[in-house]
Symmetry: D2
Amino acid sequence: MPGNSLGKMFRITTFGESHGPMIGVIVDGVPAGLYISKEDIEFELSFRRPGKQFVSGRREKDEPEIVSGVYNGRTTGAPLTIIIRNNDVISSLYEEVKHKPRPGHADLPYIMKYGYENWDYRGGGRSSARETASRVAASAIAKKLLMLTDTVIGAHLKSLGPVELDEDVSFREIFCSKYSPVRASKKWLEEKYEELIKQATVEGDSWGGVAEVIADNVPIGLGEPVFDKLKSDLAKALLSIPAVVGFEYGLGFKASKMKGSEANDEIVIKDNGKLGWRYNKAGGILGGLSNGEKLVLRCAFKPTSSIRKPQKTVDLRTSEESTIRVIGRHDPAVAIRGVSVAEAMVALVLVDHALRSGYIPPVKLSEDQARIIEEKWRRYVEECKPMQESQ
Amino acid sequence: MPGNSLGKMFRITTFGESHGPMIGVIVDGVPAGLYISKEDIEFELSFRRPGKQFVSGRREKDEPEIVSGVYNGRTTGAPLTIIIRNNDVISSLYEEVKHKPRPGHADLPYIMKYGYENWDYRGGGRSSARETASRVAASAIAKKLLMLTDTVIGAHLKSLGPVELDEDVSFREIFCSKYSPVRASKKWLEEKYEELIKQATVEGDSWGGVAEVIADNVPIGLGEPVFDKLKSDLAKALLSIPAVVGFEYGLGFKASKMKGSEANDEIVIKDNGKLGWRYNKAGGILGGLSNGEKLVLRCAFKPTSSIRKPQKTVDLRTSEESTIRVIGRHDPAVAIRGVSVAEAMVALVLVDHALRSGYIPPVKLSEDQARIIEEKWRRYVEECKPMQESQ
Amino acid sequence: MPGNSLGKMFRITTFGESHGPMIGVIVDGVPAGLYISKEDIEFELSFRRPGKQFVSGRREKDEPEIVSGVYNGRTTGAPLTIIIRNNDVISSLYEEVKHKPRPGHADLPYIMKYGYENWDYRGGGRSSARETASRVAASAIAKKLLMLTDTVIGAHLKSLGPVELDEDVSFREIFCSKYSPVRASKKWLEEKYEELIKQATVEGDSWGGVAEVIADNVPIGLGEPVFDKLKSDLAKALLSIPAVVGFEYGLGFKASKMKGSEANDEIVIKDNGKLGWRYNKAGGILGGLSNGEKLVLRCAFKPTSSIRKPQKTVDLRTSEESTIRVIGRHDPAVAIRGVSVAEAMVALVLVDHALRSGYIPPVKLSEDQARIIEEKWRRYVEECKPMQESQ
Amino acid sequence: MPGNSLGKMFRITTFGESHGPMIGVIVDGVPAGLYISKEDIEFELSFRRPGKQFVSGRREKDEPEIVSGVYNGRTTGAPLTIIIRNNDVISSLYEEVKHKPRPGHADLPYIMKYGYENWDYRGGGRSSARETASRVAASAIAKKLLMLTDTVIGAHLKSLGPVELDEDVSFREIFCSKYSPVRASKKWLEEKYEELIKQATVEGDSWGGVAEVIADNVPIGLGEPVFDKLKSDLAKALLSIPAVVGFEYGLGFKASKMKGSEANDEIVIKDNGKLGWRYNKAGGILGGLSNGEKLVLRCAFKPTSSIRKPQKTVDLRTSEESTIRVIGRHDPAVAIRGVSVAEAMVALVLVDHALRSGYIPPVKLSEDQARIIEEKWRRYVEECKPMQESQ
């Protein structure tokens, strides 16, 4: 049954396998009039791109092509399709995988579900994290539209393996973690993370981590009770990322250890005269609705399943127990690149709900709106460019 | 925009407010031929019912009425509607709430979204946990259908405030937590939980907790990549429960602290000759698909927001800061009753995906299937009855 | 699989069988702040009510109860549920039907699909036209919301059996067919229709007919290419009415006999300075989008299947050919009451698309909007009341 | 808001504009294991291809590429994507259109909805019938899957302008209309149609027509009451085709002129001992469900809007009335190629409902099923090949 679409008013449908000719995404529901260019999408993809230090060695240029929905540089209201060709594909690295499902991977469940004879094992096929590039590509459009409500999203790697950020961090620092090749929001943290990564690489092992995403200026009242609450849709979107095994927002699991008098927040009049909450303990969501405070959520990534260390598995040809050393080209910690994917998923959910709640016009932008979005986007890109180069 | 429906092939739509004439649910997608009675639904509701020791004092009989979709004791394929009248309603307890939004509650976000003038504040209106009775009612049908695949769901309160179960626990013990008024799976734990509850009641405070849900005999391959993965739909469903602020499955957040060589599981040949995983570290879901191992997931409940202790809020009449002591009748730990709601949500997601994957016939049950389900259900009820009475 | 919901932003889910305790509808997606009363719904239902001259003798009071989603006379944003109890039920009239499926009815297909043992034959069960009362009830809310765009819908019986209106008719005349017990838009036509009906009643037979629906002031640009075009969603909605076997808009089937130079319309500057079409040959829809001209569509109703004349069928007990004379209480021409149902379906589709295109705020109405709607609605009711009484 | 997807279990999402780099379709919900090749898709496309006698002069090779979802010649369960590059594009023919919206076309409504500045006027942009090639491509997969239930679909041009088939026609003759370049099911009809077309071409005019689609061996019980009835979903699908302005099934509009005793069918025991209907007056659908008889439906195509004859329009630069002679390369009767598109839409709806009703396994085909489908498909292609060549 279909499962490759997400969103009700801003709806993405992704397609493509790791070692097929291309991956891509159809974005349906983009209002007409938005300026959008290949460069806008490339820009967002640049923060996810493999082939950098500390991540997988696969050298994909990730060059997006917009093949529908845009005319003369602006969206037309028709479905917007982006394709990204797969260039740097070495399927031969996966020959062993064909017979020996990799522990921690989707290999065996896919075989169980779809049949061994129908399994595209090359590079993980459809279950490969390569698919997430489509999501990040689509998120460029989401982020541009969110300029209309001044919503900006920052994300960083809050913990990597045993190392966790345990001091205060500003939205600015989180946002600027784009500067860091390991998405650390503090310099000292970056060093510690890099050390862990190097050590794991040497050992042929990997680390898990926690990505934290913050969104500023989230429109008030996003979320539709009782099942399409903002927290529900965010949880679904984040759990749809490969390797994500947990989600929490606000106090999250810590709240389960607390008393009501600790976990409840105080309702106050803010300096701007508006009602709000003193400490934002709820992470910006109360009653399932955005409440005007910063959105704060985290998701747990398990360690990269592909490791060089030998692991026990079964040889499907002989049905005998065997071992495998996964050789492909893999991230020592998927959580690092996962940060930008988590950020993308939050953008996709927020823009969907901003449309659902009427904050963004569903059919077309006015000329003013289109222009303002473009100006804000230019400033955003300018601001982020040094970060892009630093990585 | 609509948000009150969940599921694609087994689709529930709930309605009703805490202090309206009734709450209810339409279940669309139930195959014809299933035996279903008011008693079946009442049975499941009995484990959630307020008015017991350690939970809210509201005395609702929770008497469900099936008003459509069943003829001569069997489903007809038409939408099945269950209504539950609200009887024990004391709206006067909420007069103060009308002007003083309760910290930690949906009050203020609902006002922000829908307008103060349209806010049904009585008993929390639509945001009340009362709505979850509709879900539990619907879950009786889900659980009966899941008898076809021998899928059984157990759930317990894994931690309450600072007290956490830190020893091995069997599926049987978890299942039998229905015996416990605080949903503890061990006797010593029950005592500790009860103590905490009593103390909180005295203090006019509340506690958070973690519910763990285990499902045995989950059909293999449930979940639809890449967005309707089983983990995604479970996360969405569980986060849609009021007061749930976190979700994890398998190793969950702990995996984020681990190395790949620790977090990966071993693929082995089981005693029955089938492929499987040695330790079920993945909690029954790999690649987003159920893998034949037990489903293991947890969700974090924040402490009950309604506490008698005075809390800071704002009086909407004067726009001045004020305090409120929430007096209604509330659970000292929503997590306790939350256990049965979490269990219900898991049942609803599993049956939806079992239908999506073809494990349950979409249109009608054969006579054999209907009879087998009924027999298994009778055994299940007999088994659980002593638990019901012990509470 | 679920099939009892319609609409994406204004979503109705109906439930209930002809001889069950009640029928009803959940309307999800109604913005908060709309004034709505039981009387508003009763008013719309009055034009569909059976128990009048020329239609079925079943005496249903059709008294709607709003059981959720409204507080203090205004919608809250929560799902709005309306129930209508079934009172005048005589199931004994259906004893013969149990074994002899009625020609032209859903009896045998329902038995084939859901199983004989699960078939609620009483009054046609779920397939009864009784279900359409839920749709008309929901359409009251749709029509009120459409007051915001001044959209008004008129409908009449364009033909009954061999008699067809073949002269010009104004929107006003069509709208005022509510005065007529047979939904005729001209006095001479009314007489002819009544004669036909009387004759059919005497013969124990029935007639088919064509309902025409016109909507004035339809917002421009409704419809979402390429599958949710306005014409597509209208066709689906109208074909979902029992006994409807055909749909056309604008020139409809006549266009298939024409040349392009005849069927094309002229694009002109209207007196108000706006672009438009000279003759509205397209019936208000071009490219699948509403184009600002009046919406004009028709649907064909087959004759009432329930007739007293003996018809050939098979006795399911003996598997031998047999005959049946259907005795229940039935309309001699379902098309008559079908007019109000067709009108309701058009309202439901238009309001859904008006929401999708941003003409109606998705979350809540402003105080001004709520007031203006109410004023216009009052005028509409006042205008229609004499029509109600005349029937 | 998204509108480019159709179907619940077999879900197509199309993208692409007439003069963009490519058009295409994602098919989500295809079970794994189906053999599928580029040739299969090309085969179906061949019956729709422009560039033949009597249809548009645009010479598109319509060469489909499968870029995802297939591995080693079989579907994998991942979304299957087909792209078709646009090669023979002459946008210069549309320069006049840019300022003079064409009567009968989507031009002006698209401008009204999405804004003049966002309008891709080249070749009709998204509203071009070119998009229907994506649907026909997807229908190849649908038709293959329907081999499992032996469902075969035939379609022919029942009338063209004033000429209508008024004698009996067999399913075989209808099916073999693929032989005819004008989709006529009788030789004498073919000649009359060709004459009409030639005359229209000379005059610079066009004709409307009616396509009739018949499906044999439709599984029993397809359709989900009360809104996703088979007739409703068919109506929606057919009305989504550009230029379709009417739909009917069975007796259709003729039933509206009849008495119940004429329109009702007789329920009988068929020669095979099964229950059925004597005359199939209902066209295979009763109560909204397929009833085991042949599906019979028709849709009305208006005449091609693009004609060389001068027509009145408005010049958008001057806002003055003007005339246009549409020069591009167009079919003299869209209904001719419309036959294959109507056939495709019926296949798409039937396969969706066959999956919804459990006739086709939702996740994967067994080896036997895959093989049987392939064998039947080969026979079907062999049978149709001479027809392909004759055109």
